[in-house]
Symmetry: C2
Subunit: 211 residues, 2 copies
C-alpha cells in the first residue's frame, strides 16, 4: 500500500488525542515516514533521532529497543490504514467497485506526490523479514489480513449488487489485489513512474474485477 496521507492523518490523531504532538508520537511519525522509504535494518536509530531533533537518551525513555520502536511504527501504520480503508472501502455513498478505483487513484496520487520514494511500509518490512525478529512477521501478517478483510467485504457487496462476477471467491480476489498492488508499487518505485500502477489497474478491471 502506498503512504499517500499517512503523515497528515497521524498529525491529526496526535493533535486530537493529546492536545499536542508529544515526542513519542513525533518519533513514531518520523519512523513511519522513513521506513516507508527505506530499509528498517539499514537505518540506524541515529537517523531517526537526527530528523526528530531528539537526543538518544530521550529515545530510550520511550522505547526499550529499536525493535520495540519498529513494532510501534507498524502498529501506527496499521491504525492509519484502518482509518483509510474504512473511509474508502466502507463508503456506502459510492458503488463498491468505484471505491476500489478511488483507492487506487489515491494511491497513484500519493506515489506521485512523494516522487516514488515512498512505498508500502509493511511491504518494505516484509521484504526484510529474514533479518527481523519474530514479532514483526506476526504483526505484518495481521495487517495484510485486515486489509484483505476490508476489501473482501467491499467485493462481496459488489457481487450482491451485480457489478462483480459471482463465480469468484471475494477473499481470493482480495488477496490477488493486494499481492498485485504490492508488486506494482515496487515497480513504480523502480521506474519512478505511475505507469506500472495504471497498468495493474487497467488489466485488473478489464479482466478480473468485472461483472
Amino acid at each position: 500500500m502506498d503512504d499517500s496521507d499517512g503523515g497528515a492523518a497521524m498529525s491529526r490523531i496526535g493533535a486530537r488525542s493529546e492536545g499536542r504532538l508529544d515526542t513519542r508520537e513525533e518519533l513514531v511519525r518520523i519512523g513511519t515516514e522513513i521506513w516507508s522509504e527505506q530499509g528498517f535494518c539499514s537505518t540506524g536509530i541515529e537517523h531517526v533521532l537526527r530528523r526528530a531533533g531528539v537526543p538518544k537518551g530521550s529515545f530510550y525513555h520511550y522505547f526499550a529497543s529499536k525493535d520495540e520502536f519498529g513494532l510501534a511504527v507498524v502498529d501506527n501504520y496499521a491504525r492509519l490504514w484502518e482509518l483509510k480503508l474504512t473511509r474508502i472501502f466502507g463508503n456506502a455513498q459510492v458503488p463498491p467497485l468505484d471505491r476500489v478505483r478511488n483507492y487506487l487513484a489515491e494511491g497513484i496520487r500519493g506515489m506521485e506526490k512523494h516522487e516514488f520514494r515512498r512505498g508500502c511500509l509493511v511491504g518494505n518490512l516484509a521484504q526484510e523479514l529474514a533479518a527481523l525478529s519474530a514479532p514483526f512477521r506476526e504483526r505484518i501478517s495481521h495487517v495484510f489480513a485486515s486489509w484483505e478483510g476490508h476489501l473482501t467485504r467491499c467485493l462481496t457487496e459488489a457481487q450482491r449488487t451485480g457489478s462483480l462476477r459471482s463465480d469468484a471467491d471475494a477473499a481470493e480476489l482480495a488477496r490477488f489485489f493486494w499481492t498485485g498492488w504490492e508488486g506494482a508499487i515496487l515497480m513504480a518505485k523502480l521506474d519512478r513512474s505511475t505507469v506500472p500502477l495504471e497498468q495493474f489497474r487497467d488489466v485488473l478491471f478489464r479482466w478480473v474485477l468485472r461483472p
Copy 2:
C-alpha cells in the same frame, strides 16, 4: 522471481568456463545466495567473506567496493535467469501457456525447497532502491525489461496459436504477470506458504491468461 536453481546453474557455469570455481566466482555465488534472502544494505561484506572463508584483503583484490560487488551479483543473477527463461519460455516442445505454468511450478518448488527464505534478488534490491547507488536502478530495470521480453514473446505465440485472448496487449500482460508474481513471492515469504503463489496462478489463469 524465485531462486530455485541459481546456485547449481552457476556452479556449472563456473566449472565449464574456467575449469574450477575461482574465488571471484565463489564470492559472486555466495552474494547471490545471501541477497536472495536478505537486504543488501544491512548485510556487510564481512558476512559474505565469513561464508566464503575468504580474507578481506582478497575481496578487494577482486572488487573495488561493496557496490561493485553488488553489481556483479546482479549481473550474475541476470545471466542465470536469461538461461532459465530461454529454457522455459522458449521451449517450442511445450504449448506457450504451459510454459508459463511450468515456470510457476518451478518457482513454487524453489520457494518450498529454500523454506520461503529465498525470494527474488532483483525484487529485494528494488525494495531498497532509495539506499542504493544509481547504477543499481539501471541494471535492475534492465533485468525486468528482459524478463518482460521473454514472456511477451511466449504470450504472443500463445495468441497466434489461439490459446490466449487476442484482444490483449501481450507486453501489458507480461508486465502484469511479473508485477503480480513479485508480490506473490513477497506474500509467500511472509506466510511461509505456497498458498499465495498458487492463488496468484489460479486467478491469473482463470481470468487473465485464457482464450
